[in-house]
């Protein structure tokens, strides 16, 4: 079902975002994300630096987790559907963490011939602790369009 075309009519309030499981987080992924994003803060790479900063060790870029959350939406609703995405980073993601991204549909509306879908989103670690919470708006085509 991955990347199946989803139309506005296919989504209703209360629908769950199919869970997307990412990780376990490895140092090499943080290094790769640093290179791809341009965020070379040593707190994500250098354990000694991270401990000296009082963070108890390396942790993932918040933006990597946000990328996972965005993927959970686009895996379901399709690439190019996200119109707004806002998150709060509520807990640190550590090496070896397994992150599950999901959410649900809060509301739908019509605007300019598109169906706008309001989503509540979250990501949690393997202990069930929320690491990201947020909201998104996605725009879907109508089946009749």
């Amino acid at each position: 079902m991955k990347y199946a075309k989803v139309y506005g009519e296919d989504v209703k309030v209360g629908d769950a975002i199919p869970p997307l499981v990412k990780g376990p987080i490895a140092q090499i992924q943080l290094t790769r994300y640093a290179g791809a994003s341009g965020d070379f803060n040593p707190i994500h790479q250098d354990a000694e630096f991270a401990r000296a900063a009082g963070m108890g060790g390396v942790f993932a870029h918040g933006m990597l987790s946000m990328g996972f959350v965005a993927q959970s939406v686009t895996d379901w609703l399709g690439a190019g559907t996200v119109r707004k995405l806002g998150v709060r980073f509520s807990a640190l993601v550590r090496l070896k963490d397994v992150i599950t991204c999901t959410g649900r549909v809060l509301g739908t509306s019509e605007k300019n011939g598109e169906r706008l879908v309001e989503l509540e989103l979250w990501a949690e670690n393997q202990r069930g602790e929320k690491v990201v919470t947020g909201r998104a708006t996605a725009a879907l085509q109508s089946r009749s369009a």
Partner: protein, 151 residues
């Protein structure tokens, strides 16, 4: 000595900078997230899509930075070391999709500074907004970036 964030920073605008969304960077960014959506990484699929090319993942605009500027400018303005800042919140408004080869002008300003007491003690929340405009003057996206400064 407790750190004080200068409230006069609110309203400060950083010099506008120009970026080009490079094809390889879009793909590398998607792959770094582990998101292999064909609309991000496959030129043939992208070319056959309604957009006529691959598109950037929703969070790609976070890579837009002023490569000619001093990367530590914000930290210096805040008067803190990089080890004291965390990414607290992030928002993207996406008005249209970003495609390879497009050039944009980005303007960033500090829009808010709030004090808060968190689990680890006093902190300041510094909100910056970046507006991304294409060559035709159309706003393609807006980013809001909340930095947590541990005081």
């Amino acid at each position: 000595m407790p750190i004080r964030i200068d409230r006069a920073l609110v309203g400060k605008e950083y010099p506008a900078f120009v970026v080009t969304a490079e094809r390889g960077k879009i793909k590398a960014f998607a792959r770094a997230i582990g998101d292999l959506n064909q609309n991000y990484v496959d030129d043939d699929i992208g070319g056959a899509s309604a957009w006529g090319d691959i598109i950037a993942p929703p969070t790609f605009a976070i890579t837009f930075r002023d490569e000619t500027a001093d990367a530590a400018a914000l930290l210096r303005d805040l008067g803190v070391d990089i080890g004291r800042v965390l990414h607290g919140e992030q928002e993207f408004e996406i008005h249209r999709q970003i495609r390879p080869g497009e050039t944009f002008t980005c303007r960033t300003k500090v829009v808010d500074i709030q004090d808060k007491t968190g689990k680890s003690g006093p902190m300041a929340l510094v909100t910056r907004e970046t507006v991304i405009v294409d060559r035709g003057g159309e706003v393609v996206g807006t980013l809001r970036h909340v930095t947590v400064v541990r005081l």
